[in-house]
Symmetry: C2
Subunit: 134 residues, 2 copies
Protein backbone atom coordinates (compact mmCIF):
# COMPACT_ATOMS: atom_id res chain seq x y z
CA UNK A 1 0.00 0.00 0.00
CA UNK A 2 1.23 3.49 -0.70
CA UNK A 3 0.48 6.46 1.51
CA UNK A 4 0.45 10.25 1.32
CA UNK A 5 3.94 11.66 1.34
CA UNK A 6 5.64 8.34 0.52
CA UNK A 7 8.83 8.80 -1.51
CA UNK A 8 10.46 6.28 -3.84
CA UNK A 9 13.75 6.76 -5.69
CA UNK A 10 15.18 4.80 -8.59
CA UNK A 11 18.64 5.35 -10.07
CA UNK A 12 19.30 4.80 -13.77
CA UNK A 13 21.44 5.66 -16.76
CA UNK A 14 21.32 4.83 -20.45
CA UNK A 15 24.10 4.15 -22.95
CA UNK A 16 24.20 5.51 -26.50
CA UNK A 17 23.51 1.97 -27.70
CA UNK A 18 20.28 1.90 -25.66
CA UNK A 19 19.27 5.31 -27.02
CA UNK A 20 19.88 3.97 -30.54
CA UNK A 21 17.65 0.97 -29.78
CA UNK A 22 14.92 3.26 -28.45
CA UNK A 23 15.14 5.29 -31.69
CA UNK A 24 14.89 2.08 -33.69
CA UNK A 25 11.80 0.71 -31.95
CA UNK A 26 9.88 4.01 -31.68
CA UNK A 27 10.97 5.37 -35.09
CA UNK A 28 12.11 8.62 -33.44
CA UNK A 29 15.37 9.10 -35.36
CA UNK A 30 15.78 12.81 -34.68
CA UNK A 31 19.56 13.18 -35.26
CA UNK A 32 19.96 15.24 -32.08
CA UNK A 33 19.65 11.90 -30.24
CA UNK A 34 21.87 9.81 -32.51
CA UNK A 35 24.47 11.80 -34.42
CA UNK A 36 27.33 13.30 -32.41
CA UNK A 37 28.48 15.55 -35.24
CA UNK A 38 24.95 16.91 -35.82
CA UNK A 39 24.45 17.41 -32.08
CA UNK A 40 27.78 19.26 -31.78
CA UNK A 41 26.26 22.06 -33.89
CA UNK A 42 23.17 22.42 -31.66
CA UNK A 43 22.86 24.20 -28.32
CA UNK A 44 23.28 20.80 -26.63
CA UNK A 45 26.80 20.18 -28.03
CA UNK A 46 26.42 16.39 -27.76
CA UNK A 47 23.58 13.88 -28.31
CA UNK A 48 20.70 14.16 -25.85
CA UNK A 49 18.42 11.33 -24.71
CA UNK A 50 14.84 11.17 -25.95
CA UNK A 51 12.59 12.80 -23.34
CA UNK A 52 10.17 9.90 -23.75
CA UNK A 53 12.94 7.43 -22.88
CA UNK A 54 13.39 9.17 -19.55
CA UNK A 55 9.60 9.32 -19.13
CA UNK A 56 9.48 5.58 -19.72
CA UNK A 57 11.29 5.21 -16.41
CA UNK A 58 8.17 6.53 -14.69
CA UNK A 59 6.16 3.81 -16.41
CA UNK A 60 8.74 1.16 -15.49
CA UNK A 61 8.72 2.12 -11.81
CA UNK A 62 4.92 2.37 -11.55
CA UNK A 63 4.41 -0.95 -13.32
CA UNK A 64 7.14 -3.00 -11.71
CA UNK A 65 8.35 -1.39 -8.46
CA UNK A 66 6.21 1.33 -6.87
CA UNK A 67 3.39 0.49 -6.37
CA UNK A 68 4.28 -2.37 -8.78
CA UNK A 69 2.39 -5.18 -10.45
CA UNK A 70 -1.15 -4.43 -11.49
CA UNK A 71 -0.64 -0.70 -11.89
CA UNK A 72 -2.61 0.98 -14.66
CA UNK A 73 -1.26 4.28 -15.96
CA UNK A 74 -4.02 6.88 -16.32
CA UNK A 75 -2.28 10.25 -16.76
CA UNK A 76 1.17 11.81 -16.91
CA UNK A 77 2.32 15.38 -17.40
CA UNK A 78 5.89 15.98 -18.55
CA UNK A 79 8.01 19.12 -18.47
CA UNK A 80 11.33 18.59 -20.21
CA UNK A 81 13.37 21.20 -18.35
CA UNK A 82 16.98 20.27 -19.06
CA UNK A 83 18.68 18.04 -21.62
CA UNK A 84 19.66 14.56 -20.48
CA UNK A 85 22.76 12.76 -21.69
CA UNK A 86 23.94 9.17 -22.05
CA UNK A 87 26.31 7.58 -19.54
CA UNK A 88 25.08 9.95 -16.84
CA UNK A 89 23.43 8.85 -13.61
CA UNK A 90 19.94 10.16 -12.94
CA UNK A 91 17.45 9.57 -10.14
CA UNK A 92 13.74 9.19 -10.80
CA UNK A 93 12.01 10.48 -7.67
CA UNK A 94 8.38 9.79 -6.83
CA UNK A 95 6.38 11.56 -4.10
CA UNK A 96 2.79 10.57 -3.38
CA UNK A 97 0.74 13.79 -3.31
CA UNK A 98 -2.75 12.34 -2.84
CA UNK A 99 -4.20 8.88 -2.29
CA UNK A 100 -7.77 8.52 -3.54
CA UNK A 101 -8.36 5.29 -1.63
CA UNK A 102 -11.98 4.77 -2.60
CA UNK A 103 -10.95 4.77 -6.24
CA UNK A 104 -7.62 2.92 -5.74
CA UNK A 105 -5.87 5.88 -7.35
CA UNK A 106 -2.91 8.04 -6.43
CA UNK A 107 -1.54 11.35 -7.67
CA UNK A 108 2.25 11.14 -7.70
CA UNK A 109 4.80 13.87 -8.37
CA UNK A 110 7.44 12.52 -10.75
CA UNK A 111 10.88 14.09 -11.07
CA UNK A 112 14.12 13.15 -12.76
CA UNK A 113 17.19 14.66 -11.16
CA UNK A 114 20.80 14.63 -12.28
CA UNK A 115 22.48 12.64 -9.51
CA UNK A 116 25.64 14.75 -9.43
CA UNK A 117 24.01 18.21 -9.37
CA UNK A 118 20.53 17.33 -7.99
CA UNK A 119 19.10 19.61 -10.73
CA UNK A 120 15.64 18.62 -11.97
CA UNK A 121 15.75 17.63 -15.66
CA UNK A 122 12.15 16.41 -16.04
CA UNK A 123 9.17 17.18 -13.82
CA UNK A 124 5.57 16.12 -13.94
CA UNK A 125 2.67 14.46 -12.22
CA UNK A 126 1.08 11.06 -12.70
CA UNK A 127 -2.29 9.51 -11.92
CA UNK A 128 -2.12 5.76 -11.42
CA UNK A 129 -4.62 3.03 -10.51
CA UNK A 130 -3.88 -0.18 -8.64
CA UNK A 131 -6.80 -2.10 -7.15
CA UNK A 132 -4.58 -4.18 -4.84
CA UNK A 133 -1.95 -1.71 -3.74
CA UNK A 134 -3.69 1.69 -3.49
Amino acid sequence: MISNGAVYKHEFSFSQEEVNKFAEVTGDKNPVHLDAEYASKTMFKRPIMHGMLSASLFSKVFGTLFPGEGTIYLKQTLNFLKPMYVDTTYIAEFTVKEVIAGKHRAVVETLIKDKASSLVCTSGEALVLNTNKI
Copy 2:
Protein backbone atom coordinates in the same frame (compact mmCIF):
# COMPACT_ATOMS: atom_id res chain seq x y z
CA MET B 1 6.26 26.84 -40.98
CA ILE B 2 3.25 25.67 -39.03
CA SER B 3 0.14 27.75 -38.52
CA ASN B 4 -2.88 27.91 -36.22
CA GLY B 5 -5.33 25.14 -36.98
CA ALA B 6 -2.90 23.08 -39.05
CA VAL B 7 -3.57 19.34 -38.78
CA TYR B 8 -1.10 16.51 -39.34
CA LYS B 9 -1.92 12.81 -39.23
CA HIS B 10 0.42 9.83 -38.96
CA GLU B 11 -0.67 6.20 -39.13
CA PHE B 12 1.16 3.51 -37.18
CA SER B 13 0.98 0.10 -35.56
CA PHE B 14 3.33 -1.98 -33.43
CA SER B 15 3.93 -5.72 -33.31
CA GLN B 16 4.34 -7.76 -30.12
CA GLU B 17 8.03 -8.11 -31.02
CA GLU B 18 8.39 -4.30 -31.05
CA VAL B 19 6.57 -4.03 -27.70
CA ASN B 20 8.99 -6.64 -26.32
CA LYS B 21 11.95 -4.58 -27.58
CA PHE B 22 10.50 -1.43 -25.98
CA ALA B 23 10.20 -3.34 -22.68
CA GLU B 24 13.80 -4.49 -23.02
CA VAL B 25 15.31 -1.06 -23.65
CA THR B 26 13.20 0.86 -21.11
CA GLY B 27 13.18 -1.88 -18.45
CA ASP B 28 9.38 -1.65 -18.22
CA LYS B 29 8.62 -5.37 -18.06
CA ASN B 30 5.14 -5.08 -16.58
CA PRO B 31 3.68 -8.47 -17.63
CA VAL B 32 0.45 -6.84 -18.82
CA HIS B 33 2.48 -5.76 -21.87
CA LEU B 34 4.35 -9.01 -22.47
CA ASP B 35 2.59 -12.09 -21.14
CA ALA B 36 -0.58 -13.18 -22.94
CA GLU B 37 -1.61 -15.60 -20.18
CA TYR B 38 -1.15 -12.96 -17.47
CA ALA B 39 -3.02 -10.37 -19.57
CA SER B 40 -5.90 -12.80 -20.15
CA LYS B 41 -6.69 -12.57 -16.43
CA THR B 42 -6.82 -8.76 -16.41
CA MET B 43 -9.62 -6.47 -17.55
CA PHE B 44 -7.73 -6.07 -20.85
CA LYS B 45 -7.94 -9.79 -21.78
CA ARG B 46 -4.81 -9.57 -23.99
CA PRO B 47 -1.45 -7.74 -23.79
CA ILE B 48 -1.67 -3.95 -24.07
CA MET B 49 0.97 -1.62 -25.48
CA HIS B 50 2.99 0.58 -23.15
CA GLY B 51 1.35 4.02 -23.03
CA MET B 52 4.80 5.55 -23.35
CA LEU B 53 5.40 3.64 -26.58
CA SER B 54 2.34 5.29 -28.09
CA ALA B 55 3.46 8.64 -26.62
CA SER B 56 6.82 8.15 -28.32
CA LEU B 57 4.99 8.54 -31.61
CA PHE B 58 4.33 12.16 -30.67
CA SER B 59 8.05 12.65 -30.16
CA LYS B 60 8.84 10.89 -33.45
CA VAL B 61 6.46 13.09 -35.42
CA PHE B 62 7.55 16.35 -33.80
CA GLY B 63 11.23 15.53 -34.23
CA THR B 64 11.18 14.11 -37.74
CA LEU B 65 7.98 15.09 -39.59
CA PHE B 66 5.86 17.92 -38.19
CA PRO B 67 7.39 20.44 -37.78
CA GLY B 68 10.44 18.16 -38.15
CA GLU B 69 14.18 18.58 -37.77
CA GLY B 70 15.35 20.91 -35.06
CA THR B 71 12.28 20.50 -32.87
CA ILE B 72 12.86 20.63 -29.13
CA TYR B 73 10.23 18.99 -26.93
CA LEU B 74 9.30 21.21 -23.98
CA LYS B 75 6.09 19.77 -22.52
CA GLN B 76 3.59 16.97 -23.04
CA THR B 77 0.45 15.99 -21.16
CA LEU B 78 -0.86 12.45 -21.59
CA ASN B 79 -4.25 10.95 -20.77
CA PHE B 80 -4.29 7.20 -21.33
CA LEU B 81 -8.00 6.78 -22.01
CA LYS B 82 -8.28 3.38 -23.64
CA PRO B 83 -5.96 0.36 -23.88
CA MET B 84 -3.98 0.00 -27.11
CA TYR B 85 -3.15 -3.35 -28.67
CA VAL B 86 -0.49 -4.74 -30.99
CA ASP B 87 -1.19 -5.35 -34.68
CA THR B 88 -3.86 -2.65 -34.65
CA THR B 89 -3.75 0.49 -36.78
CA TYR B 90 -3.82 3.81 -34.97
CA ILE B 91 -3.63 7.40 -36.15
CA ALA B 92 -1.64 10.04 -34.28
CA GLU B 93 -3.43 13.32 -34.96
CA PHE B 94 -1.88 16.73 -34.33
CA THR B 95 -3.77 20.04 -34.33
CA VAL B 96 -1.94 23.32 -33.82
CA LYS B 97 -3.84 25.24 -31.13
CA GLU B 98 -1.56 28.26 -30.76
CA VAL B 99 1.57 29.54 -32.48
CA ILE B 100 3.76 31.71 -30.23
CA ALA B 101 5.78 33.08 -33.15
CA GLY B 102 8.00 35.45 -31.19
CA LYS B 103 9.20 32.51 -29.12
CA HIS B 104 9.23 29.97 -31.99
CA ARG B 105 6.87 27.81 -29.96
CA ALA B 106 3.60 26.07 -30.65
CA VAL B 107 0.92 24.44 -28.50
CA VAL B 108 -0.31 21.32 -30.27
CA GLU B 109 -3.20 19.04 -29.36
CA THR B 110 -2.04 15.42 -29.64
CA LEU B 111 -4.46 12.53 -30.04
CA ILE B 112 -4.15 8.86 -30.84
CA LYS B 113 -7.25 7.37 -32.42
CA ASP B 114 -8.09 3.78 -33.24
CA LYS B 115 -8.29 3.86 -37.04
CA ALA B 116 -11.24 1.46 -37.27
CA SER B 117 -13.49 3.05 -34.62
CA SER B 118 -12.06 6.62 -34.54
CA LEU B 119 -12.21 6.38 -30.73
CA VAL B 120 -9.55 8.42 -28.91
CA CYS B 121 -7.16 6.15 -26.98
CA THR B 122 -4.65 8.79 -25.83
CA SER B 123 -5.13 12.55 -25.60
CA GLY B 124 -2.89 15.37 -24.55
CA GLU B 125 -1.18 18.61 -25.43
CA ALA B 126 2.39 19.42 -26.34
CA LEU B 127 4.56 22.51 -26.29
CA VAL B 128 7.35 22.41 -28.86
CA LEU B 129 10.11 24.80 -29.95
CA ASN B 130 11.64 25.05 -33.41
CA THR B 131 13.64 28.16 -34.24
CA ASN B 132 13.51 27.54 -38.01
CA LYS B 133 10.02 26.18 -38.51
CA ILE B 134 7.79 27.97 -35.97
